[in-house]
């Protein structure tokens, strides 16, 4: 018996060291933590329960049988984040560069299957050189097994990827299918083909950082949802995000005690919208002032800044926010902002997170680049996402709601539950000047007449009342009571039940 105890101890000790102290030091020297240290930071202290610590690869080619490290380059298991269960896998760069073998993949698949079965999120920490080339097709098969599980888990449990080192080639497609991707600045990158291949094939010279660093993916490609300074900050912020998310699609979003009165009045909102309709203002201020304790978890902050997406809490409970940002491109919808918001709305709908939409939108961005890029279909994504969503939907129009963009932004017609407008709202087909020039084309030569027509149009349509008279706006609310009204609206929708007709799945314009 003693022998087995000793052996267990020795094996554990060995497994805990991964690729050995020398490689651990090298990992630290790169400013990166080890797979186990990352798991430690991600989970509540002492809560990690490991699976498959002793799993080793079975490859015998290229002399691989001589080295069979315990765990095979990935640490898997479950633990808690603030007491709520999550499954986790963390690739160990110190073992064969974190490369993915058949057994490595099997370990990941095991915890993913359990996560779906037990209804808990999966958090993957990626730090891998790619496929275990020595294993050939067995490694590729391993990837595909993981992909298939990503697909099956999508919309069932939240999946979060944290890229904390290299993630290249086929490996990128597992994170790509998860709900959120976070990266660490300077120490992580993602690309399908690396700088060397790029140079060979296209003669482009580009660094790994430029090609697939955190900056590229948060600002240009929108592959990543946020980037953080270092491993510690990234994992701390992932914990913060998990606090907002339900554990699975059968549960309501989490609720926690809050210290902010739901009926808090904020008089400063009465002056948020400037007198001049062409002067921008910061919509984030409204988000901060509506949410509990000013806490806002922004998703894709650096991409398509003309729309804002993220999570707040109302009465301690998670609400997803989509808001036009008048500070950027006047808050118009375009290809990027439509895609960004559509994906966010669908995430919220999949996981029963109510959606608050704040509208100040002058329309869709015109231009050849937009039309050639397919703004018709991309814009339709957001329209589709809002229309199919069955979660509670509350909308507040603060200023402009023009044209087709008015319809898109969670309008009454897309089954909005509460559609509020501030007194400054203008719900119309287009701005007064443009409308006048079309309706009164005959008077175009006469500046005085046009001015009179414009004033007349403004008087008639630049207000929320035309829409309110038709019931498209449920109520005109004063800005200072927005938090109170919105919180009460969501409170009344806690038992909302709405089902779309049965279908195998929809055919959203991808």
């Amino acid at each position: 018996m003693k022998d087995v105890d000793a052996q267990l101890l020795a094996r554990r000790e060995d497994a805990m060291l991964g690729g050995g102290q020398r490689r651990i030091d090298a990992q630290h020297a790169k400013g990166k933590l080890t797979a186990r240290e990352r798991v430690e930071l991600l989970l509540d202290e002492g809560s990690f329960e490991e699976f498959d610590m002793f799993v080793a690869h079975r490859c015998t080619d290229f002399g691989m049988e001589k080295s069979r490290p315990a765990g095979d380059g990935v640490v898997t298991g479950w633990g808690t984040i603030n007491g709520r269960m999550v499954y986790v896998f963390s690739q160990d760069f110190t073992v064969f560069g974190g490369s993915l073998s058949e057994t490595h993949a099997q370990k990941i698949c095991k915890i993913m299957d359990m996560a779906v079965q037990n209804g808990a999120p999966v958090i993957g920490i990626n730090d891998s050189g790619g496929a275990r080339i020595q294993e050939g097709v067995a490694s590729l098969a391993g990837y595909a097994e993981v992909f298939q599980r990503n697909i099956m888990a999508s919309g069932v449990v939240p999946q979060i990827s944290v890229i904390m080192g290299p993630c290249a080639g086929g490996a990128v497609y597992s994170p790509a299918m998860t709900d959120f991707i976070f990266m660490v600045k300077d120490t992580s990158y993602m690309f399908v083909t690396g700088p060397d291949v790029v140079k060979t094939v296209t003669n482009e010279v580009v660094t790994a950082e430029e090609l697939g660093g955190a900056g590229t993916h948060t600002k240009k490609s929108s592959v990543a949802d946020a980037a953080f300074e270092n491993d510690v900050e990234a994992l701390t912020e992932v914990r913060r995000l998990v606090d907002f998310l339900p554990l699975n699609n059968r549960e309501k979003p989490p609720v926690r005690p809050f210290f902010d009165a739901p009926d808090r009045i904020d008089a400063s909102l009465d002056t948020l919208v400037p007198d001049n309709a062409n002067t921008p203002y910061d919509m984030k201020e409204l988000i901060h002032k509506i949410g509990d304790e000013g806490d806002f978890y922004e998703i894709q902050e650096d991409f398509a800044k003309n729309i804002i997406t993220g999570f707040i809490r109302l009465e301690g409970s998670t609400v997803g926010v989509v808001a036009n940002q008048p500070m950027v491109l006047a808050g118009c919808l375009d290809i990027d902002s439509s895609r960004k918001a559509a994906r966010f709305v669908r995430f919220c709908d999949a996981f029963e997170i109510p959606i608050l939409t704040l509208v100040d939108v002058p329309g869709f961005l015109p231009g050849t680049s937009q039309e050639y890029g397919g703004v018709i279909k991309h814009g339709a994504k957001l329209l589709f996402a809002y229309g199919e969503a069955t979660v509670p939907k509350v909308t507040v129009i603060t200023r402009k709601a023009y044209g087709g963009a008015y319809d898109v932004m969670a309008s009454k017609h897309l089954r909005g539950d509460f559609n509020y407008a501030w007194p400054t709202a203008e719900i119309a087909v287009m701005g007064a000047k443009g409308a006048t020039e079309i309706i009164h084309r005959a008077d175009l030569g006469d500046a005085e007449k046009i001015a009179a027509h414009t004033a007349n149009y403004e008087e008639r349509f630049a207000n929320p009342f035309v829409a309110a008279e038709r019931g498209f706006i449920d109520e005109v609310i004063v800005p200072h009571s927005t938090r109170k009204r919105v919180a009460r609206a969501f409170a009344s929708l806690r038992k909302k039940s709405l089902k779309n007709p049965w279908k195998k799945h929809d055919n959203i314009p991808l």
């Binding site: 430690e40 202290e45 809560s47 606090d243 339900p246 210290f259 002056t271 910061d282």
Partner: protein, 666 residues
């Protein structure tokens, strides 16, 4: 008494005047420009009249517009506040003509005191001490020495046409006077083509001390003690106090009596201020007389109990002063801090924008201390580029100077202003500066003590410990709340630990916390324990705590693993971690901020007026590169070192945000 008065001003002073008028039962009329439609003074007044576009020269200082507003509303008198039309003789005359009372001095007094040379002459005639000197032209070095001896060393030898330090010499003895005369003369001839020279007394260790006077139309005049306004930045007063920590009774009396004499000499009525420069030996010299209510009048009100605005209104109505000189009190100590929309970390550049948060400390009137905040703004209001960047005057009073300073420290810590850059941290820094605390100040204080600008405050170990203990206790509360989220596994809840590592300002403190229902004891590694008690809850942006045996007020914002804390002029990122988290955080590389030395960044939001260089130009240190306009001020951005312009990213007419790259250097 008047039934209705009009206030021909805006901002805090308009609000201040309205308050006194309301107290006296007088109806008030505000005037406003386009930019002030929603301003506080408009909301406070009984009536408001629009007087034109935003720029003051098209609204607040257009006499006809004000006269029209008076006519429309039937106001019987006008209070001009300070600035704008307050010292405009034509305005006073226009009012007189229309039979409307001017709540200020007669036009004659405004005129005579408005001219530097006339006022100095009148002051001399009234027996007021003026800076000794010889205004006539000096022929040669011998005469210069003779006059210097008459004036008394040290003397300043100045070129008549001089400016910017050119043609100026300070002489402490005959040799230096001889030499200084010659070099000044040469320099003046070369620089200005005008070699006329004069000599006056050089005032060492100068302090700015002024006397408040009050006179009625019946020949009565009194002085209400002094104010010291030595804390100035480029002639802009920043902190004032009353009384001065420097004056003795005899000097105060002499200054006061001379001031009253001057007031009498010009038939002064209403409130006025006689400004003096005082040297290290308490010799005082007349500078000028301000024929209006001063910005810093509240400190006088706080120590004398006299409402100066009320007195001005009564005098204007023709009443006799009800206070005699012997009634004037000097009770306790008052300090005023001017809150400016100027970013101290960016060399006090003006900042404009929306006040997303504006929560002044609570006003207090108690025997132990008074907190008073004169303001013209509100949360959600706009700081526009059109007017003065001063947004509030925070005043404290206490029985003695030390207590008044302490009250000011707490009040500044409790003042929340977000959305714009402001000088609160700088004001806090001055309140803790040993020289200010000891009263050893001159008008060169800011220049000498902050020669490289203001970079924030480095707190002492004791202060850091107090903040560490406070944030540790607060963080624990926030973490415990996180564990109360729904959906957790029964019986496997997270336990929030008792050991923490707090890092701030480059220091780290290992702590152990022991909480009870009333608060927590935070023990440091060396065994030192601080008791923390507070009603702070997560999300509160202002934390008021009892730490050890003192109060601590901090502005707090949540950041990853901790708080951004602003207190006592410091702006800190405080991280609170478990020992294991701290150990792992130590492995993280220190990231170096990107090198911006090869970039010219826009220091404030503004409009590019001109770009003075082209790509490829060789530039020299100090050379003007471009001009940015903000708050109606043209700011010239200059090269910090020699180099070559590689790329220019902005053209004249572009609107830029803070830190936008204007040009790049090779």
């Amino acid at each position: 008494m008047f039934k209705k008065i009009l206030i021909a001003n805006r901002g805090e002073i308009a609000c201040r005047v309205i308050k006194s008028a309301q107290k006296m039962g007088i109806k008030t009329v505000a005037v406003y420009s386009d930019a002030d439609r929603n301003a506080l003074h408009v909301k406070m007044a009984d009536e408001a009249v629009h007087i034109g576009p935003a720029p003051a020269n098209q609204s607040y200082i257009v006499i006809d517009n004000i006269m029209r507003a008076i006519k429309e509303t039937g106001a019987e008198a006008v209070h001009p506040g300070y600035g704008f039309l307050s010292e405009n003789k034509l305005f006073a005359e226009a009012l007189a003509e229309a039979g409307v009372a001017f709540i200020g001095p007669p036009a004659g007094a405004i005129e005579s005191m408005g001219d530097k040379i006339t006022s100095k002459k009148l002051a001399q005639e009234a027996g007021v001490s003026t800076v000794p000197g010889y205004m006539g032209l000096i022929e040669d070095a011998d005469e210069a020495v003779k006059i210097s001896n008459e004036v008394g060393y040290p003397v300043m030898i100045k070129a008549s046409a001089g400016g910017g330090g050119k043609g100026m010499r300070i002489a402490w003895n005959d040799d230096e006077a001889r030499e200084g005369f010659q070099s000044s003369k040469n320099e003046a001839a070369n620089s200005f083509g005008d070699d006329r020279i004069f000599i006056e007394k050089f005032v060492t260790q100068p302090r700015h001390i002024e006397i408040q006077v009050l006179a009625d139309g019946h020949g009565n005049a009194i002085y209400l003690n002094e104010r010291e306004c030595s804390i100035q930045r480029r002639n802009q007063k920043v902190i004032e106090e009353a009384p001065s920590p420097f004056l003795d009774e005899a000097t105060r009396k002499a200054m006061g009596e001379q001031s009253v004499a001057l007031a009498a000499a010009v038939d002064y009525t209403s409130a006025g201020t006689v400004e003096f420069i005082v040297d290290g030996e308490r010799n005082f010299y007349f500078l000028e007389m301000n024929t209006r209510l001063q910005v810093e009048h509240p400190v006088t009100e706080l120590i004398t109990g006299v409402d100066l605005v009320e007195q001005m209104i009564r005098v204007a109505y023709g009443e006799k002063l009800s206070i005699k000189q012997s009634d004037v009190k000097r009770n306790g100590w008052a300090i005023e801090s001017r809150l400016y929309a100027e970013d101290p970390y960016r060399n006090f550049l003006p900042s404009i924008g929306r006040l997303t948060r504006y929560r002044p400390p609570e006003e207090v009137v108690a025997d132990t201390h008074v907190v008073r905040n004169d303001t013209g703004v509100f949360e959600g209001g706009e700081i526009s580029m059109y007017y003065d960047p001063m947004i509030a005057k925070l005043c404290t009073w206490a029985p003695d100077r030390g207590a008044a300073i302490e009250a000011m420290r707490d009040a500044l810590d409790g003042f929340e202003v977000e959305g714009i850059g402001h000088n609160l941290p700088f004001l806090s820094a001055v309140m803790d500066h040993p020289k200010f605390v000891s009263g050893d100040i001159t008008t060169a204080f800011i220049e000498e003590e902050y020669p490289d600008g203001f970079q924030g405050v480095a707190l002492s170990d004791a202060d850091l410990r107090r903040i560490a203990a406070a944030t540790c206790a607060m963080y624990r509360v926030a973490e415990i709340r996180r564990t109360r989220v729904s959906g957790r596994m029964d019986n496997h809840e997270r336990k929030v630990g008792t050991d923490w590592v707090v890092t701030l300002q480059g220091e780290r403190y290992a702590t152990t916390i022991k909480a009870d229902p009333e608060g927590a004891d935070v023990t440091f590694e060396d065994g030192h324990t601080l008791r923390v008690e507070s009603d702070w809850t997560p999300g509160d942006s202002l934390a008021r705590l009892r730490v050890g045996d003192g109060d601590l007020v901090m502005k707090v914002d949540k950041i990853t693993s901790g708080f951004r804390v602003r207190s006592r002029g410091a702006d800190l990122e405080v991280r609170v971690r478990t020992p294991r988290q701290a150990e792992l955080a130590d492995l993280m590389p220190e990231k170096i901020a990107p090198d911006t030395s090869k970039l010219l960044l826009c220091p404030m939001p503004g409009l590019i007026v001109s770009v003075n260089v082209a790509e490829g130009d060789t530039i020299h240190e100090g050379q003007a590169l471009c001009t940015v306009e903000a708050m109606k001020m043209e700011n010239i951005l200059r090269a910090e070192k020699n180099g070559v312009v590689a790329k220019i990213n902005a053209d004249a007419g572009d609107s830029l945000a803070v830190d936008d790259v204007i040009m790049e250097f090779e």
